[in-house]
């Protein structure tokens, strides 16, 4: 079938009608020549040819893209029905639109919350570690830095482990700005490298920052940097005062980076805190070596790591719990 024929359907059919008409005339002429009355000639010619309409329909159908035509017909029918009953049409369209919109909105949420991988490096390998206390009420307890330090000291099965906790600081005003209370995250030096995040400007924390005698350092969040420092990259290397203590700004976190929440500056955790085994206010991210499928059960981890705390007083003695990275 030629597509051209499909688009020239009507013209083609008209031509066929003319052709059949010509055929009839020929036949009539012939019958008249045989001495038949014109009426009888017409009758015989028609009988001989059969149904003209039938022939035209056959060829019409042969030239049709049946699927396309019935679809067009359905559309026309739908449009007519809706136009006849506008109230119903509006209701139907509103219901459908609401349904589609709700679906799209819901899927957007589901997509970003559940389906889209986290923007970190190897997100499948990130898990949260918790202290497991003998007390069943604290099956998943937040971690004291000292415990984290013990884990890190003896952990061979992980590549990287970082600890972080939140606290708020007073950011002193400079250049006539008012002081401000900001939410910060205190973290160990490998916080950024565990997540695989590169700062937008400057550098991330390094092991040498994680010492008591080192200068205090801070990585600003993109938002704070834009808001307080006008997005000026030369701010890196200068100092800010947090709770009256001078911190060197070593880097700016990338704009998309909002972990653990939207408005967080990152500040390194010194080994003074590492010595603290009781202040269980921290979270630990663990980047496992292997993929998720051979993830050890929390019990296994607890067994393998509990000797670490054995020499601590009983209230410090805890195991390790694993949970999904959040």
């Amino acid at each position: 079938m030629h597509l051209r024929r499909f688009f020239h359907h009507r013209a083609h059919d008209n031509e066929l009608a003319r052709e059949l008409e010509a055929h009839l005339q020929q036949a009539i002429d012939e019958y008249i020549a045989q001495g038949v009355t014109p009426e009888e000639a017409l009758r015989r010619a028609r009988i001989r040819l059969g149904s003209e309409t039938r022939i035209r329909e056959d060829i019409w159908e042969w030239n049709s893209l049946v699927f396309l035509e019935s679809m067009l017909r359905d559309w026309r029918y739908a449009a007519r029905t809706l136009a006849r009953n506008p109230g119903f049409a509006i209701m139907t369209i509103a219901v459908l639109a609401t349904g589609l919109g709700a679906n799209a909105a819901l899927f957007t949420v589901v997509h970003s919350v559940l389906l889209k991988p986290l923007p970190f490096r190897d997100p499948n390998r990130l898990v949260m570690l918790y202290e497991r206390s003998v007390d069943p009420r604290f099956a998943f307890n937040v971690v004291a830095p000292g415990i984290y330090a013990e884990w890190q000291k003896q952990g061979q099965s992980f590549t990287k482990m970082a600890i972080f906790g939140s606290s708020s600081y007073n950011l002193s005003g400079s250049h006539g700005q008012l002081p401000e209370k900001i939410e910060t995250t205190r973290c160990s030096a490998d916080f950024f490298s565990t997540l695989g995040v590169q700062p937008a400007y400057g550098r991330a924390f390094e092991a040498k920052d994680d010492r008591l005698q080192a200068d205090a350092t801070v990585v600003l969040s993109w938002g704070l940097w834009k808001r307080r420092f006008g997005g000026d990259p030369s701010i890196v290397g200068t100092n800010v005062l947090l709770d009256g203590v001078s911190y060197a700004i070593i880097g700016i976190a990338p704009a998309w980076f909002a972990y653990p929440d939207m408005q967080t500056e990152h500040r390194e955790l010194t080994d003074r805190l590492i010595a603290d085994r009781l202040t269980r206010t921290f979270s630990v991210i663990w980047q496992r070596k292997a993929n998720l499928y051979d993830m050890p059960t929390p019990r296994q981890v607890a067994r393998s790591h509990s000797p670490a705390t054995r020499r601590f007083p009983p209230r410090v003695r805890t195991g390790v719990g694993l949970s999904r990275f959040e």
Partner: protein
């Protein structure tokens, strides 16, 4: 698939109408009425062309490029659509004639053996 089926007891063998039409056009262009007439006349009225299937057949043959059509005047000065055999049509006729001969021969052999 095209549907040109007609419920007629005298229905021609499937595919033979095409072949006959092509053969009829060997001497020169003709219109539908002449084609039907020639087939019937040449076969001593044994073959009756079902006119309802003649035009679909012509249409089909033209679609395959075996015929071309044009409007002209008939012998008694009436407008008529003429069909003309193309080169491809000639080749097709040769193929179909050969096939037909082989079938007839084969059937003949079968019937001949049965008669023995």
């Amino acid at each position: 698939m095209p549907r040109f089926k007609r419920s007629s007891k005298d229905e021609m063998l499937q595919g033979t109408l095409d072949m006959l039409i092509l053969r009829t056009l060997i001497p020169g262009p003709a219109h539908g009425h002449t084609i039907a007439h020639v087939i019937e006349h040449t076969s001593d009225e044994v073959l009756q062309v079902e006119q309802g299937s003649l035009y679909p057949a012509l249409h089909r043959l033209e679609d395959r490029g075996w015929l071309v059509s044009y409007w002209g005047s008939s012998e008694n000065n009436r407008k008529a659509k003429f069909y003309k055999l193309t080169q491809a049509g000639r080749k097709q006729l040769a193929t179909e004639t050969g096939r037909w001969r082989r079938i007839v021969e084969a059937i003949g052999r079968v019937l001949g053996e049965a008669a023995d």
